[in-house]
Every structure is written in structure tokens, then in C-alpha cells.
Symmetry: C4
Subunit: 369 residues, 4 copies
Amino acid sequence: MPDIEIGMGKAARPAYGLDQVSIVPSRRTRDLDDVDTGWEIDAFSFAAPIMASGMDSVVSPTTAVALGELGSAGPLNLEGLWTRHDDPDAILARVAVLPEDEAWAELRQAYAAPVRPELIRDRVKEIRGAGVVSCGSVTPHRVEALADAIVAAELDLLVIQGTVVSAEHVTKGDPDPLNLKTFVRRLDLPVIVGGCSSYRAALHLMRTGAAGILVGVGEGSSSSTRRVLGLGVPQATAIADARAARMRHLDETGVYVHLVADGGIRTGGDIAKAIALGADAVMAGAAFAAATEAPGRGWHWGQAAVHADLPRGTRAPVAQVGTLAEVLHGPATDDTGSMNLVGALRRTMALTGYASTKELQKAELVVQG
Amino acid sequence: MPDIEIGMGKAARPAYGLDQVSIVPSRRTRDLDDVDTGWEIDAFSFAAPIMASGMDSVVSPTTAVALGELGSAGPLNLEGLWTRHDDPDAILARVAVLPEDEAWAELRQAYAAPVRPELIRDRVKEIRGAGVVSCGSVTPHRVEALADAIVAAELDLLVIQGTVVSAEHVTKGDPDPLNLKTFVRRLDLPVIVGGCSSYRAALHLMRTGAAGILVGVGEGSSSSTRRVLGLGVPQATAIADARAARMRHLDETGVYVHLVADGGIRTGGDIAKAIALGADAVMAGAAFAAATEAPGRGWHWGQAAVHADLPRGTRAPVAQVGTLAEVLHGPATDDTGSMNLVGALRRTMALTGYASTKELQKAELVVQG
Amino acid sequence: MPDIEIGMGKAARPAYGLDQVSIVPSRRTRDLDDVDTGWEIDAFSFAAPIMASGMDSVVSPTTAVALGELGSAGPLNLEGLWTRHDDPDAILARVAVLPEDEAWAELRQAYAAPVRPELIRDRVKEIRGAGVVSCGSVTPHRVEALADAIVAAELDLLVIQGTVVSAEHVTKGDPDPLNLKTFVRRLDLPVIVGGCSSYRAALHLMRTGAAGILVGVGEGSSSSTRRVLGLGVPQATAIADARAARMRHLDETGVYVHLVADGGIRTGGDIAKAIALGADAVMAGAAFAAATEAPGRGWHWGQAAVHADLPRGTRAPVAQVGTLAEVLHGPATDDTGSMNLVGALRRTMALTGYASTKELQKAELVVQG
Amino acid sequence: MPDIEIGMGKAARPAYGLDQVSIVPSRRTRDLDDVDTGWEIDAFSFAAPIMASGMDSVVSPTTAVALGELGSAGPLNLEGLWTRHDDPDAILARVAVLPEDEAWAELRQAYAAPVRPELIRDRVKEIRGAGVVSCGSVTPHRVEALADAIVAAELDLLVIQGTVVSAEHVTKGDPDPLNLKTFVRRLDLPVIVGGCSSYRAALHLMRTGAAGILVGVGEGSSSSTRRVLGLGVPQATAIADARAARMRHLDETGVYVHLVADGGIRTGGDIAKAIALGADAVMAGAAFAAATEAPGRGWHWGQAAVHADLPRGTRAPVAQVGTLAEVLHGPATDDTGSMNLVGALRRTMALTGYASTKELQKAELVVQG
């Protein structure tokens, strides 16, 4: 790809956001009923290629079960309120109605409590017990410490997630730092790991043996990584680069690693565009925080928002638009694109003539010139 | 055309909107009186290459006649309120003054009534009886069911219109789906069909035997197709691509198929630019919904806005700027460009030295760099 | 210059506005006192390469004299209020305080009065009598009819100005239309003619024998040509194209025709950029309408704003920032760039190391990427 | 670098701002503790590559000492209030609470007092006496006159700073103008000189023997150079061009001249991006004016804002976000990126895998397409 010279001493690649692209209808159309939006990763099948983000304002054990029953999935944050407190719902209910300053203080205090392995076990059991795929998320920083508890809990699918996750973490102080390449293979459960945002970083994460990778750095609506850290790649380019890494990894190993686009996914249109760019599924936060059942109760935040020294992101109010079922399957009550996400994806596929999401990945795109 | 690499695994074509281009005056100017804005399609002649959109807030039998008398045309929506109700004007008058929620409810109920073939006959008869070209629009979904009634009504010009219309609709459930390639040729009246937004889709629609195609997907001001579905092509590029399809189709068959740019046409400047890009005529919605005679009475909506599961577009208030005659022929009372559309087109042609709209198609353009 | 394909059937040249470019300092700087901002055209010298627009809200005989004494110039609109009325100042004073509707009505009525040749004579005499260069503007439409009066008035410098002026006006009705190529040469006074906005149009206007051409279509702040008519070229490109025409014309004829950039000139920075792009001088409207002496008394409009059928532009309030002397030579009282235009140009030249405006035309530019 | 044709007669280089670029994480990550943000120039070491601007609203002797103790530095404006008045703090306190007009008047009067060499001596002594690197700034216009006082004061590091500073100032009136090439070498202390914004201007400033150059023209938030003068280069390009000059100068002379990016630096992300583009350090104004200790007491201005004839920039209120220590080292209390600048830079380096700022200069960038 030709570089752009920023100046005589430094070049940069051009990168594009989801807002800049749109899907060109093909010369065919299809019946809505003939379209399959399903997604399969490892041994698991989902009716919709849409995951909820592992954030305390989005996923509780209850909503995890509800999402599973609706054909979606959402990892429970295994370092969040649910594994630190016996009754986080009481905390969440209180925080939702407190004045802003007190809400922050209460949240900071709540996140200061220790993560309790037995709560990991109980929460996962609650989700698995309902008959849906149990999914949980941890940060690379803690994944080793919590690995035993996670395996013991018989979690189905693990998400290892950070702002930026690399396959090669360099450290001087620790004689035995986390090596994802050996760690992921040693684990007895499928892993989705990320974020990443370049061909090379994606390729190396694929080589850890992960079933899927999270694509996206600095793109989430609840994040300010771009502003605070100067980091990030616009999401359309991040996905398309990771797609190239998927092709190479498949060519080298015969293994197809799934791309889960994480960040900047708000509407049905965003989902369709992410898939057309190469994603196999997407992860969405704010879209699900807007559900009436969401544990955030009209508020949305990532755990980085309560970081003691360098908060990235904030705790923002979010309008509650309808139930989780309505967010995923409609009916939508307005034309903002934030409800009936699956129905919108289905209609896009029908109008562009693609019968499966794998076919939709072939769609022609235009980019705003 | 060189593609842009969105990332290493996916490319996209750059595309441009009408707002990004403008017309460069040539080295000639012309008298206003020496300029001809006329448009001829099939056996019909219009003084202005401007159609009103087939929307219930824009075209009633009365305004269809008025448009015809003013040198324009507007298809009556043959699946809208006028073919479902004996007295839609009463409904429209009531809806215009109801509180928002009740207005929506009333509209949804009104669109739930069945389409009555005898009303198609009566409405078309009313328009034809006034001595103007009768024009009606239907969706691809219903066109077969209504074809007999339409032909029996002796409609002059049929518009088959959907968000995206393809020449090849694939369906599993129906052993005999609509095949536009045979259907259009079988009909005994000229057809304009669309929307479409690519060279290939346009070419295949032309091959159905249509007299004209509607160009534009996701560009209308009353639509949110782009946001909800992720679909669409910026209009300047959509027109220029369809122009290439027209050239090829003319070369292969000797038949000149007209391009009607539909979506994003608000001002006289938009009309001139659409023609300079290659359009033979344009279709405009909001510009006509702003007329005092418009049946929407200060409101504008497309039928997709009342979709039960996935509304695309909404019902928006629109300022009434003047009569239909003033919208088309002036005098304009402000400088927004939304009145005296024909006069503006005429002046653009005079100032750029082009004597006919066919000549204006040759105009030099610049695109904002 | 490589074209951009808007779509497969139409290309366009990229074009840039003044806002998109800026001047790169060279490796030299200069003392403010060593910089010469002077401009010479035909037999006339001006201390500043800045003309006021020939608009009734900007130039009266009084301000024309004041501008001349300040080293600038402003053409009196010879088809405006001053040549239609004995006491336009009374009208302007009244209009300035009327409610909006009544102001429009009064202005329309005032512009409906006939142009009186003896007033052309008197107004020009008043300006010349003060010892400054007398300058007046007319439209191409009326220039022939008024030519005798203009020559008789011994006007020094004539501006023939319209939205678009071409060297070749085509007309069927009139057996003897205006031919600028013969008309300009026949006149006994230097002419500046325009607007134009392309290499070819500029070249043909130069070949009429004009001393200067006005460059710019659809760029003025008081105009809505772009929106209403779809016409125009972003000003930086229009100037750079006309510069190429100037080179060719100079090469072919040995005659240097001046470029006066008209449209989009608001600040000292705009003036410097226009010159760096190739302009010899600029024409500014709103910047001078903001002077306390301006006849518009806090309002600004072009004559196209009162067009009966198709107004382009409106009558807008403009904040009065200071005297004409302050607008041109300061001191500036804020940092908006709209005052001390000559001082700003001088400082730019000092900081970039260019001693004359002719040298500033060589300045290196960057364009926002 | 390929030029863009603005028009047929003038080309321009494309240029990019800091907002348009972002840093791509590499395939490695690093521990926060393994990252070194230090900066060394001449004989001086700083824990952070971040200087405060030499503006009276930012740097007083007290804050200069505080900055030094926090690992940063800030030049005292040696032509500002501190070297003109015995008790500028009283003036600053009064100005901060005066109505706007009176504040301006008081500031103008305060800057009209003469610069007193003995105050230069005392202020520098106060800073040096606290054991931190003493740093002061002067304009090229006065540097010769003040040189003896500066050297006598035993200043550690001198910043010669103007809107645009060139190595070759041309003057007719003065038989012996300032020649930076001889002047800088003659001085007995290290000099940082600028601003500049092109390869050639940077290279010539390096050849004066300066230890560092300030890169940036027209980019500061408190400046309106771009609007008033039309001058400037977007900062990402200015840095990348100066980087090329640094390479050439190093190749020719073996001397590494530091680049200090000055202008447009507001957040931790801006700092990281400036370094990735090639800067060795940055200079920030508004970010430090927002500290509770800042002498501006909630107001921020550059000395050009009180220029008598042509003010560039204004006196703007600035929200006080925290102490200097918090601005530099946190904790940050929000996610705007304006606090904990060093912590943010450290985290960016950790997440992108770069152990030193010199390594961060190698980071891959993307530019918004």
C-alpha cells in the first residue's frame, strides 16, 4: 500500500473509519427469509454475529443469559463488580441514582474490592446453568492469576481483552512474564484475544492459538484512548488489515481465526459494514447499554474510566431505547439504527443479495472521496 | 478506476456526493431565452426534467395534475393512502394537526388498510382526465399483483421503486419470483425502475427494457438507509457510474435509457449538477413537500418510515415555502435555492453556455480537493 | 493535471479553496519597512493591492474618495442607487433602520428606478474631483448602453462585472450581441472584466484587451451562486488556473494582464494567500462593508439579492469594526484578521522574506492533506 | 514528495495536522516501569520531554522552579512582565479580576514599561538558586540588546523565539543586522531557536549552532497567525520536515540538533504523536496555563495578543484543572487528556512497546484517509 509522506522525514499509511465506507448493492437481491445471519466459532453457534462488550454496564449474569437466549453472547467481566461483590446489583442500583460525584466515589470503592475466585465459579455456573454459552473476559494483566479459577468454573469461551494486547509482552522486572503463545495453547478452552489494530499484531495474536481476535484500538464510544494516548487505527482499516492477517494465517496453518470487530459499532449499518470489511462478528457496548435490562441502568462506562491515575473514557448517560430483544430483533421504534440490529443486518444482506455473512464479506464498498 | 486500499485485505472505490462537485462555466455564455430545459422520455415531453417523488406527502391526484400542468410530473404512490382509502385527504388533514404519537398511530393504521384496485383505476382516471401524463409508482414486491389493475387503468408511465431494486431477485420459497427482465417487456406501458447505485446494477436494470432507471440508494433526505443498513453510494458517483452503463447499453442495443437521479436533490444547483454528471432528469421529494399544495401539509415522510420492524426515515416537519408553481418556476422569495428550480437550471445553462440539458451533461466539473 | 473519476462515466478536476492553503515561510525574513505592498495597473498606482467591491453597501462617492486617499480603490456601481437617485444616502439611511420586510420592499423599489446618464457623469466627476482614481462598475448586460455616458464622464478605470462573464456571449434574438473582444478594445479606458473561473475563460477574457480580469465565481460571502446554481470553482484553484492563462497570454502577446481575486477575501491572511497563488490584487466586499463609513450602515448586500425571480445572496447585517482607515491600515482592535489588512500583508511579506507582491507570488504553499 | 496542483499555475505540498495522525501499536507491549521518558539536551537532563511556553500566563520564576523540580522546564519570558516590573504578581492578580476592557488596558500599559537588565539578573538568579535548570526566552528583535545581561545572569538555556525566525534576516536600514549564524555561536550558552516550519528553514537554523529548534508556525491555540497572516504549516508535517533536516545536518556535521514541537500540543496524545513524528520534546502553553499555580490565574495570552497594530491571538479564559504536578504526573481527574501528560506518554510507550522516546520516533503512524 502506498504511504503518504507526512513530511520529508516520516510517512504514514492512510486509514479509514467505518463512517467513511458504505456497501454497494450487487446486481442481485434476495428474500429476507433466504438470508442466514448465523455465526459459528469453535464448537459454538450463534444466531447473530453480535457480542455484547464485557463491561459492567452491559453484561450481568442475567443479561448474559438473556443474550444467549436471543442468539447472541456477552462475556461477563471476570474482574468487575460481579466477581468482587456478593450483590453488585445493589451497588449498581445505588450508583445509578447517586449524584455524579458520589456515583464515581462509590464505583471507585467498589472496584477496589478484591476479585474472589469463588464468585467467578458461581457467576459462570449461573450462566451455564441456564443452558447458554458461558463467556467471560479478563485482562492480560490478571489472566494467569485467574486461570485456575476460570478453568475450574468450566467457562465455555474466554475473552482476554485490553486496550492493546500483544503476543509479546516485554518486561524486565518479572523473570517469567505472561507469554500468550504458550498460555493460550495450554488453556483448555477457546480464547478470543485483543484488541489489536495492525496486520502484524493481528498475525502474532493469531499465532497464539486463539480462536478469535478482537480488532480495534481507540475506537469505542466509551473510550478516549485516541485523545489521551494518541493511539489507534480507524476501524475500517483495522479490520481490513486483520483480514489480510487471517488469510496469511489460514494459508500457513489451515486454521481460520475469527475477527471480532470491537469499537465503533453502534448501528445495524456499522455491523454490516464491519462484516463486509472482513469481520466474522462484532462486539458492541453502548448499543447494549441502551437496553432496559442493562445493569448500568441508563449509564455506560468502561473500567478504564475509573483508572486512578489516567482515566480513559467516562461514565456517560445512555438513553434506554427498548428491551434486549428489541435491540437485537426489533421492532425498532425509530430510525436511528440502534434497534433491531439483526433485522437490519438481514435486510442489508437481502438488499445486497448475499445469503450468508461469509458472502457479505465479499461485498463491494465505496469510500467517501 | 484505481481502488483505495482500506486495509491490506480490502479495497474500495472512492465515491463523491453532489455537495462535493460544482460546475465550471465554459468560455461561452448564452441568453436565458435561448436555453431549453425540456425533457422527453418515451412518447412524453416535459418542460422541466424534474419529477416529484411518489410519496404520499408529495403527490396526490390534485398535485399530480398541477405538476403536469407546470411541465413536471409526479407518480402517485399506487400502494399509498390514495389507493387504500376513499378520502385520504381527510386522513392527511387530521394527521397534520395531531400530536406526534397519535399522528404516527393514525398513519400506521391508515397504511394497514388494503390496496383497492378500483381506487387505482379511479385515481389514474382523475389524473389522465385532466390532460396530463398519468404516472404511478409501485414497489417490486407488489407490482405483479397490481399489474392488471394498473394496465386496466391505462396509466401512462409506471415507476417501479424500492430502496434497492435488482434485475435478478433470488428467492427459495417462491417457485416463480418476479423476473423484471420478462415482466417489464410484457407490460404495455413505459417503466422507470430503481433505485440502483452501481454500473452493473444499472446495466442489468436497463436490460429489462425499462425506459428509465432511478439512480440513487441511501441518499434521500427523508431516508436513513445509510445509517440503518450501511448501504448506499454517494449520489455524484452513482450517477456517473450509471452514465457509463447507459453508454454501454446504447452501444450494445441502440436504446437510450434515461437516468433519473433520485435522492439528495434539494436545490436548483443540485439539479444542474445531477444533469452535468449525466442524469437526464431528477426526482425530488422534500423540495415538493415544501409546496403549500403538498398533501403532507407541512410534513414529509416516506412509506419506509412507518415500517413495523425497521423504520428507515422519519416523519419530519417541512417549512412551506410557496406554491408548486413558485417551487418550479418562481419567483423565489429567498436565496436557499429551493424555489424557482426551473429558472435556476435555465440560468445555470445560460451562464455556462449550454443550450440543452443534453449539452449540459458535457459540462466540466470540479470536485472539492 | 490528473482528473478524479467521479464515476465510470464522468471525471472532474480537484479544486481547492483559500481556507485549504497556507503560506510556508522561506528561509529568510525581512524588516517590515523593507516591504513594498504597492500595485500598479495601467497608468495607476495604488499603495495597496486591495479593491473594494462595487456594491451599494460598500462604495459611495464619499467612500470611493476615502479609499483612494488610503491607497486603495473601489468602483462605484454605475447601475446602482447612486446613478438612479439624486439622494441615495437618504434611501440608505432609511433602509438601514426599517424592519426587514419594509427594507427589502424599499430597496426593490429603489432599484426599479431608471439609471440616469447625467448621474453617472456627476458621480464620476465628484470622485475625480477629489484627486483619486475614479473607478466604476457595470454589468455586461448594460455596458453598451452606458458606454457613451461612461466615456463622457471621463472615468479612469471601468470594471465590467457579472456572476459569470464570457468573451463569447451567444444569443439568437439579438442580431448584434455584445462582443467583448471588439468592445473592450474600442473603449478609451482601461477595463477590468469578470468573474471567470477557468483557464480557458480567463484566457479569452484576457484576449479582449482587458487590463485586468476578475477571478472568482460563486465564492463571495454575500452570494449563494453555488447553492442556487451549482456553479463555481473554489477560489485557490480559480486563481492558480488564471495565473496559467496569464503566463500563456504574456507569452503570446507580451501583455501582462492583472488578476484581481474577487470572492472569499475576508482577512489579511486571505489577501496574502490570494497573491501567493498568483493574484496581483484582490477585491473584497464584506471586509469594507464593516467600516463605519460604509454606505450600507451595518448591512451588506449584492444587487443579485434583490433579483425579482431568483435572488442569489441576501441582505445580511455586518458588525461595524472600525473606520476605513482602520480596516486598511489599522490599528486592529481584535485578532479576527479583518482589520489592518495592509499591515497584515506587510507583516506576512516580512516574515516570509518577500520584498514585493510580485515576489510573494513565488511563495511556497501547503494544502491541508 | 509529489505536489498537488492547486491549479494549472501553482502547486502545493499536502500537509497534515496532529489531529489527522495516530500511532499504530507495534506487535510488542512493555511494562510501564520499563519505559524511560527522559530527555537530554546539551548538558541538561529532564525526566520529561515537555517544556512550558515562555509566556507570562504560564511561566513565572516560581513556576519555572516548580517545573524544574517536576522534571520539566519552562523559559521565563525575559521581555515580559517579570523583567519590566518589580512586582508583576500584583499586576497579574489585579488583571485576573478586572473587567475585560480594563484588563486589556492594564496589560498594554504593563508591557509598555521598559525591560530592566537588573531584573533579568534577579529573576534568573532566583530560578538557578533553586537548583533547577534556568531557562529564559527572548525575541530575535531584542536578543542582541539583552545578550550581555543574559550572559551576565548565567542563564543555563536560552530560547530565541518569534512567530517565524530565520537564519537570514534581510534589512536595508540597519548596516549590521542580527546574524544568527554568528550570534548563536558567539554566545556562551546553549540556544533553542524558532519557530520554523520547513525543511530548508529548519536546516538553516540548525546551522547557526543551536542546540535545538522550535518547530511550528501558526499552530498554537493562543495564536491566530493562520487567519491574520495566512502563514503556517500543519504541525505533523512541520515536524516531519524538520526531522529530515535533522538527519541531513547530522550527516553533514555529526551534530544532533533537537526538535522541540511548539504549537498544537494539548494532550498526552499530542505529545506522543509529536515524538513519533520526530520531535525530541514538545513545548506546551495552554496545558500549563490550566495549572492552578499558573501566573495567568485562569487566563492565557501570548504577547502578540497585545500588539498595538495587529494583535494575533487573544486573552482567553482557561479552566484550571489541577496543580502543575497533576498536569505533568497526575492523577488525572478526567479523560480529556490534559492531565498526567507524562503518565500518558509512558503508557503510550508501554502499549506500543517502545522503551525510550528515541525509539518512539520509529513508531508506525496512520493518517486519516
